[in-house]
């Protein structure tokens, strides 16, 4: 049974952004939104997506947010999901940025908890993390 203290535990969120991916305006904005929403944010830039899973495990986060402005999502999202599963790390994976609309259903079916484009509202992101 969760104690009151535990249920009040601040959510720890890892935000990750590939270091080749230009335009970090969205992910930086979300970092501020999450911090203001009372969450703890760890922010990394990665060269290869294997680093994301390593940090998620080391830092024992509750959720991972990946941001894509350019390509790479088609490789990195399935790879990260699979690797989290292999490591039996039960965390939510959220995705932000530019994802073609006809690929959204497929990614959600794969296990992504939420996909947020440039015109998403901050409340939607906070709700997805808190649910």
């Amino acid at each position: 049974m969760a104690t009151t203290e535990e249920s009040k535990k601040r959510l720890r969120v890892l935000l990750a952004h590939c270091d080749q991916d230009a335009h970090d305006r969205g992910v930086r904005y979300i970092a501020e939104v999450l911090q203001e929403g009372g969450m703890e944010v760890i922010f990394i830039r990665y060269r290869v997506c294997e680093e994301v899973v390593r940090v998620a495990v080391q830092e024992d986060v509750d959720a991972v947010g990946l941001s894509f402005y350019s390509s790479g999502y088609s490789h990195d999202i399935p790879a990260v999901l699979e690797s989290l599963k292999e490591k039996e790390k039960d965390v939510k994976l959220l995705v932000g940025g530019i994802i073609p609309s006809d690929e959204i259903d497929g990614l959600l079916a794969l296990g992504v908890s939420g996909i947020f484009g440039p015109n998403s509202r901050r409340d939607e992101v906070l709700e997805c993390l808190a649910s």
Partner: protein, 572 residues
């Protein structure tokens, strides 16, 4: 700009106007300031321009160039068409380019016949931009997707064989990897027997571009050295090269207000020049070969005022601070780009209208180049249809509207002249603030630039979320639309083919020779790192030798990163 009695009369009329609107129930315009925070009055009169001098506003083509660098309007010699084309493998990009050329795409709009020059504004895919070969783990899922994949001499050959290099202006949008891209191109030209003196290039000398966001270039204290390195090589060895890009597009996309963009861009131009001077170069020889690449906002008049203010400020700075005598040093030709961040995925066709308005601002401001983006840029790299519409946008403005027949058509407008002066005042204030904070590099390293940009970006996003800033079809009058917008995409087969090709290329070359060339490049890069600016001019020749030895771009850039390090801006 007007007689004192005229100004008095104008003030009297303005008071009368104020009385009228207060009688009218006190209605007010919705936004009292523009994006730069400058007060926006509902109407402007002679009273707003009484302090302006005739020097500022009289003849186009004369110092301080507020009204433009030209004496004649566009219909005399056109503007440069700057839209980029790049997709998949070199053969795919080439097919797209040749299609657009049939539709009238060339370096200058309106240019035809034997004098016609072609343009290749090639955006490389992200791995090629960063210097990863297609088979690097970092490249997975990214090859050919956001631009053209390029890593070897075979790619160059597939792209250029049979094309006239001396009649084509070449630009590779790959700033962090620019030495390698151009090294490869120069060796390709050499093998084709085309002398470097005949080549036309815009050098994407933009080592600072990635600092506006978090792509990995080099650390600031190493990266800036690439500026003088490229300038010194190209202005001496490739006479038709434009040697450095002074960009406002990147700060604009990162969130800068137009006034911030103006100030940051001018500070960049000053910094690059100072570093080149320290490396022993004479500004009047290389500054004329700079080119600008500014951001274009949807606030049409603010954009026009920003471009006008920038011309004037640049001219003053380079005349007074650097003592330039060459008139071309005082004229920073500008090739602006329509803002990608102002395009929206909802009802994407509406972006055609947004892009047209932004392109119109570029033309009304008298820019030397017009870059209308593709309406689907917010979804992916352009489809062929979107690229065609982008080309048509500029052509319709040029041929069908009459706008190209008069130079600086907004010059003399009370509003435009007053706003030009206000933008200038705000930018001078910001430049002074940067000087007080220790100058350009210090402002980067302390995080000042990034925090200023983050604040502006946040204010914008909040205004959009709160509905205070309206985006039609996005946060107002939103309709339920079909969920799936068809998106142009490059498939995995491109990556598979590129991986095979680069491996086959490495297998057929003399590996020992390639390894020796990389060792020599490493030694030159180490000198750059430890003995600057004395070592200026060593790396670029070593880079060229690496491609003479058939190294790949990933190998050459790998050496640069190994020595100079990775560059991140720290913190959130």
């Amino acid at each position: 700009m007007c007689k004192e009695t005229d100004a008095e009369e104008a003030r009297r009329l303005e008071r009368k106007w104020a009385e009228r609107i207060s009688e009218d129930g006190g209605k007010k315009p919705s936004r009292a300031t523009n994006a730069s925070g400058i007060e926006r009055k509902a109407y402007y009169s002679q009273a707003d321009v009484e302090d302006l001098s005739f020097e500022d506003t009289s003849i186009p083509g004369e110092y301080p160039y507020t009204r433009g660098f030209r004496h004649l309007p566009y219909s005399a010699d056109g503007w440069m068409m700057r839209q980029p084309v790049a997709v998949g493998l070199p053969k795919d990009t080439r097919a797209r380019m040749e299609y657009l050329e049939k539709l009238g795409w060339s370096l200058f709009i309106g240019q035809e016949g034997d004098d016609k020059l072609l343009v290749q504004n090639v955006a490389l895919d992200i791995p090629s931009q960063q210097g990863y070969d297609p088979d690097a783990p970092e490249a997975r899922g990214r090859v050919g997707r956001d631009g053209m994949s390029m890593s070897t001499m075979w790619d160059m050959d597939e792209f250029y064989s049979g094309r006239e290099l001396d009649r084509t202006e070449v630009f590779f949008a790959a700033p962090d990897n620019q030495l390698a891209c151009l090294g490869l191109y120069l060796v390709y030209a050499e093998r084709r027997g085309v002398p470097w003196e005949a080549l036309r290039l815009k050098v994407s000398n933009l080592w600072y571009h990635s600092w506006y966001w978090d792509t990995a270039g080099f650390p600031p204290r190493q990266a800036y050295k690439l500026g003088p390195e490229l300038v010194s090589f190209f202005h001496k060895r490739v006479p038709h090269a434009q040697v450095a890009s002074v960009t406002g597009y990147n700060p604009g996309e990162a969130g800068a207000t137009p006034a911030q963009e103006l100030a940051f861009t001018l500070a960049t131009g000053v910094f690059i020049t100072e570093e080149c001077v320290k490396a022993g170069l004479d500004p009047d020889e290389f500054v004329p070969k700079y080119y600008g690449h500014d951001h274009t906002n949807l606030d049409l008049f603010e954009t026009v005022a920003k471009f006008r203010a920038k011309r004037k400020m640049w001219a003053k700075i380079f005349k007074e601070r650097f003592g330039c005598q060459n008139p071309d040093s005082l004229r920073l030709r500008n090739f602006p780009q329509t803002a990608g961040s102002l395009l929206h995925a909802k009802e994407p066709e509406n972006n055609i209208i947004r892009i047209t308005l932004m392109a119109l601002a570029q033309v009304l401001a008298g820019a030397e180049g017009v870059w209308a983006a593709s309406y689907d840029e917010c979804l992916n790299i352009p489809s062929q249809k979107a690229a065609q519409i982008a080309l048509r946008t500029g052509q319709i403005i040029f041929y069908e509207t009459g706008i190209a027949d008069v130079i600086d058509p907004l010059g003399g407008s009370y509003y435009i002249e007053s706003l030009t002066k206000s933008m200038e005042d705000e930018a001078w204030r910001l430049l002074e603030e940067m000087e007080k904070k220790g100058g350009y590099l210090e402002c980067w390293e302390s995080g000042w630039f990034r925090s200023e940009l983050a604040r502006s970006a946040r204010e914008y996003h909040q205004a959009v979320e709160d509905g205070e800033r309206v985006i039609v079809g996005v946060n107002k009058y939103v309709v339920d639309e079909e969920k799936h917008i068809p998106t142009f995409r490059v498939g995995q087969e491109v990556e598979d083919e590129a991986v095979k090709r680069v491996r086959a290329f490495r297998a057929q070359r003399d590996s020992a020779q390639a390894a020796r060339a990389l060792e020599a490049l490493k030694r030159a890069a180490e000198r750059m790192k430890t003995d600057w600016p004395n070592s200026c001019g060593l790396v670029m020749p070593a880079m060229i030798d690496a491609f003479r030895a058939d190294c790949t771009m990933g190998e050459a850039q790998g050496v640069m990163k190994e020595v100079l390090g990775y560059g991140y801006y720290g913190g959130i």
